[in-house]
Amino acid sequence: MITRTHLSILLFPLSMFLLSFWGWRIFENNLLVFLMSLILTVLFFLIIEKKSNFFLNATFLLLLIAIILITIPGRLNQYIWEKSDLDIITITAQRSYYPAFGSAFHNKYFLAANKYQQGLMSAIDVNYYFFASHPRERATIDDFEKFLPIFIPLLILGMIKVFKNIFSLIILLFVLALSPILDPRYYLGPVFIFPIFTAILAVGAKVLFDYIRTKRRKYL
């Protein structure tokens, strides 16, 4: 039975979702992804809060896979595997400096791994989410503001809870690991990260709310 408590808990993910710039950008461009993100946000919130069950977990995973399959195919990051003209010039020059290591460092797998890790580092950059990558904006990429900077403390509080829940931690690491393979120029950004991030902020908001409420009860 859905009680008033359940509804009040769901206010957190819903309000974080509606207060995000990212959510509205998705709404303007893709209503289906918007609706899927909304459901995923609520479900992941319940997972972190350990209020979900097998059915909800399965629904979450299916929806997550669906949103990944909608987003990634056709928008793979070619930059990881392809050598740009600059890459070729750089490699040719660097090979002449140290022939002994040249082939090791310029092996195509090593280069791809290096570009992948750069993409991964961008995905875990707080400024990417709260300041549109400012002050180290990326050239040729339309970085947009995703969340209000004032929510950064909520991210820290939410992350502490995520780290205490193995399943939610695995999900977070999984979506972060996927993000470098998406083309960074995609106008909606890594949308499969969006509901995960929003849910973490919602958890942080709930932690803060509970703390304030407990303090108030002590003083009243």
């Binding site: 400096y97 140290y98 290591f101 890790q117 580092m121 709260f130 300041f131 002050p135 180290r136 900077p149």
Partner: protein
């Protein structure tokens, strides 16, 4: 006893490794003196020989240099090694390298003496992290003032460990922090913050020893007086006014929220928050190098990529041990040392945040210790250590010792070193050397030529009509013996036989042809790019 000897042996090995990384090819890598190095070295040289800097000022509070007014302490300290060993790149960098080793030792002592019982593992691992970290190696190999500032702060931190038993040490802490304000610009702010933090933490103890507290604060204030008296001069706040974003002009050019009430304040708050948070970003700490080419090496950030794992593991370890004074200090340093850097416009400017990087190294060291203790198998421990050490050293070698000198030789004035050598063959000819606007080519040439300080001072004596600390402008035109340095080489006397030297942009092939110039030498960087070309005029 055996354990102590083992720890001492391990510490010795780590220090030797750190020393090797700091001293190996120190005079040649980087392959030339950066402008700040050249300026400090040359000014130390002129003070040694004449008692005055290049502008004829005796022991200034802020060195005017080429209009940047850096802190003077490192320059004054360079006088001694230059007196003994002469003016050279190696002489400039040796004191900084020694300080880099002392920083490792101080860190070991700080961690070792802050724990009861004495824990050698976190102390050893953190010392190892600092020994091999790119930021520590890089800044120990640059003859600049930043390492000295960190060293003086660490002296204060070490002394603070013993203040409970010996309250009078507060006076030495205040002295150390006061001297640090003369070491580097960011330390002028950090020293005040850290001293205030120590006073607050030990407030009960210091309040019971009021005379010591008063003496320490008065000593600190008195030592800062020379700087405070100059605060209303453009020179004293030169770096601040050049770099900060807290001004209306910058806001009007770049600011968002221009049509919102309190928009300007919101903009500053957002800018500060973004700059501050950027320093904690894993991509900046472990992946992307500092964008300043002279303060980074290619493809290598301030820490190695693998350190991200012990970093995240070290954070809860640090938090759990926050009741220990030293770890409380590390948290305080981590959070507050970014304040001076976060009010500037430059993204992730590493030379302003050395105390922060030092604190992050401690967090990483704690994380490494935690991982090491969780791994039960001795074989796996040794294998893991060798693997990450090997990976780190190979990355450092390829990036710093191979790529950096090749790709960034022009950043370190390599072309001027070579030019000085080549121009020995043209001593009886008039040389016109092109310089970029607002680039102090003259100081590079003066450094490499060991130009007579008396002659330099006679040139500069009338160039500061508004006074030493008030005239912040910069005149690029100088004459060093037969070399005229000017941004405009085309206003030359066409009837004179001269040698023109400039970059391929300053003297393009079409210009060379139209002015009937004959090429006589080319200076290439270590990446084989043409940096300077010399042409003979044919009047």
């Amino acid at each position: 006893m055996i354990q102590r000897k083992k720890n001492l042996l391990l510490l010795t090995i780590i220090i030797l490794l750190g020393a090797f990384l700091r001293f190996y090819q120190l005079g040649n890598i980087p392959p030339g003196a950066y402008i700040d190095e050249a300026s400090q070295g040359y000014n130390a040289y002129t003070i040694l020989l004449t008692g005055k800097d290049e502008w004829g000022e005796s022991f200034p509070v802020f060195l005017r240099s080429f209009g940047t007014y850096p802190s003077p302490l490192n320059t004054y300290l360079l006088i001694i090694p230059i007196k003994i060993f002469g003016l050279s790149i190696l002489t400039l960098r040796t004191p900084t390298a020694i300080i880099g080793i002392l920083i490792m030792l101080l860190t070991y002592l700080l961690i070792y003496f802050s724990t009861k019982p004495r824990l050698s593992k976190p102390a050893l691992f953190t010392t190892l992290v600092i020994a091999i970290s790119p930021w520590a190696v890089l800044y120990s190999r640059l003859g600049m003032e930043v390492n000295l500032g960190l060293f003086l702060l660490l002296i204060g931190f070490v002394l603070s460990l013993f203040i409970e038993k010996k309250p009078w040490l507060f006076i030495l802490i205040a002295l150390s922090f006061a001297i640090a304000t003369y070491a580097y610009t960011a330390e002028r702010v950090m020293s005040v913050i850290f001293l205030a933090g120590i006073v607050y933490y030990f407030r009960k103890l210091l309040w019971e020893n009021k005379k010591i507290l008063a003496f320490g604060i008065i000593l600190f204030s008195v030592l800062l007086l020379p700087q405070l008296f100059l605060l209303n001069t453009p020179g004293a706040i030169r770096r601040y006014s050049q770099q900060n974003f807290l001004n209306r002009e910058f806001y009007n050019q770049n600011g968002k929220f221009q049509n919102i009430i309190f928009g300007e304040q919101l903009y500053y708050a957002r800018e500060f928050a973004s700059q501050y948070i950027a320093y904690f970003s894993p991509s900046n700490l472990f992946s992307n190098p500092d964008s300043q080419l002279s303060r980074s090496s290619p493809n290598l950030s301030v820490f190695y990529l693998w350190m991200i794992i012990p970093f995240f593991i070290g954070i809860p370890v640090l938090w759990k041990n926050r009741n220990i004074y030293f770890f409380k200090l590390v948290i305080f340093v981590t959070l507050t040392s970014l304040i001076p850097a976060a009010i500037t416009r430059d993204p992730f400017y590493t030379s302003r945040i050395l105390p922060f990087l030092w604190a992050i190294s401690i967090i990483i060291g704690l994380g490494v210790t935690n991982i090491y203790e969780r791994v039960q198998s001795k074989t796996l421990r040794v294998f893991g250590l060798f693997l990450i050490l090997g990976w780190s050293l190979i990355s450092l070698y390829s990036s710093y010792f191979v790529l950096m000198p090749h790709e960034r030789s022009s950043e370190f004035g390599y072309q001027y070193k070579e030019l000085t050598r080549i121009l020995q063959n043209y001593k009886d000819q008039e040389i016109i050397l092109n310089t970029d606007i607002e680039f102090p080519t003259y100081i590079m040439m003066a450094f490499y030529m060991k130009y007579d300080p008396v002659k330099m001072q006679s040139q500069t004596k009338n160039r500061l009509p508004e006074g030493y600390y008030n005239h912040v402008g910069f005149d690029e035109k100088y004459t060093l013996d037969n070399i005229t340095i000017t941004p405009d080489i085309w206003t030359l006397d066409k009837n004179k036989s001269q040698i023109l030297v400039g970059t391929p942009v300053a003297i393009s092939p079409s210009q060379a042809e139209s002015h009937n110039l004959s090429p006589i030498f080319t200076i290439r960087g270590l990446d084989n790019q043409v940096l300077l070309e010399g042409f003979q005029t044919n009047p």
